[in-house]
Amino acid sequence: MSTYTEKIREISQRLLKECKVEMVIGFRQGTLPMMNEPCIVRKPEEVERLVWDSNCGINLANYLTNRKEKIGVVAKGCDSRNIVTHILENKIKREQLVIIGVPCQGMIDKRKIAAGVQGEILSVAEADGEVTVQTAAGAQTFKKAEVLQQNCSVCTHRNPVIHDEMVAEPVAEQTGVDPYADVAAIEAMSAEERWKFFEELLAPCIRCYACRNACPLCYCPTCFVDESKPQWVGKGQDPIDVRTFHFLRAYHCAGRCTDCGACERACPVGINMRLLTKKLNKDCLALYGWEAGLAEDKRPALDTYKANDPENFIH
């Protein structure tokens, strides 16, 4: 991984020196372990701040929305798909971007690590597919494959779909994984069980909107939940209002979500709201053969009409 860091710094420095870009958006070390933060570098001598490891799960496409500068942006597979979506939705122009592609090997789920150790985590290091965690009590080692974010463990688009530079050779894509097994399990339940399942899933939600803010798709100047004239949805903790928020947030991401996991990662109470967006991803794939952000020259599923679109839900 550290070779990725060196390569990112080298490319960024070159782009800034040659004035190909005005800024590079990447990651810097967070103030806490496993919490790397987005970082904007504007001067060639500042590139030492940039790092790369398995704690870069935030989606950097979120920091491109409506920007006017020429930007170098570090992009793993899912970020690159959200960049494609941004380009299709006119949120940024392809000509403004120099995409520094990172073949991704998955991001670590900080909650899985925290659940596996006692006490405060002092530092986390990785090498050769293993993650070593230091706490006051000592060191503990995990297999990286076992502490991946759930979305990364079933990701089949780890290599950037568009890029101008690459920091390494493409990685092998995962095969034989079923990204939608968890959604299928819910579909198999009865209506009553499904209602209960989501009641429990969403019960801890505090309406902080971190999931919305972390998502590159959620760029509306005023989100429907913040509007008061008209007020589309109540603003409190009423379970029906919470459910309405989650239902509509997911629906606004239909045909656009890349299952990058930034929303779930950002949630302070660990809600897997991705189950809702994933259901829509699953249906988009089954009904329209569509996966978001794979090509710059294809219009999204909900943006096109075809004479043979499925319509068996219409009487």
Binding site: E193, W195, K196, I240, K279, D283, H315
Partner: protein, 56 residues
């Protein structure tokens, strides 16, 4: 949208979509009758209903 509502536990027969031209009066009557029958069979909706605050 219907699929997502169903995933969240709304009964399949409670939500209906139709496409009826303003000239298709007989189709309108037929569809409304069908939908009414299906929803009646399910009984009153208990889910996705916000309970009004109880005032003493």
């Amino acid at each position: 949208m219907k699929n997502l509502l169903e995933l969240m536990g709304i009964e399949a027969d409670r939500i209906h979509f139709s496409w009826i031209s303003s000239a298709e009066s007989t189709k309108f009557v037929k569809v409304v009758n069908e939908i009414t029958a299906k929803v009646k069979a399910l009984g009153p909706n208990q889910r996705f209903v916000k309970q009004a605050a109880k005032v003493a």
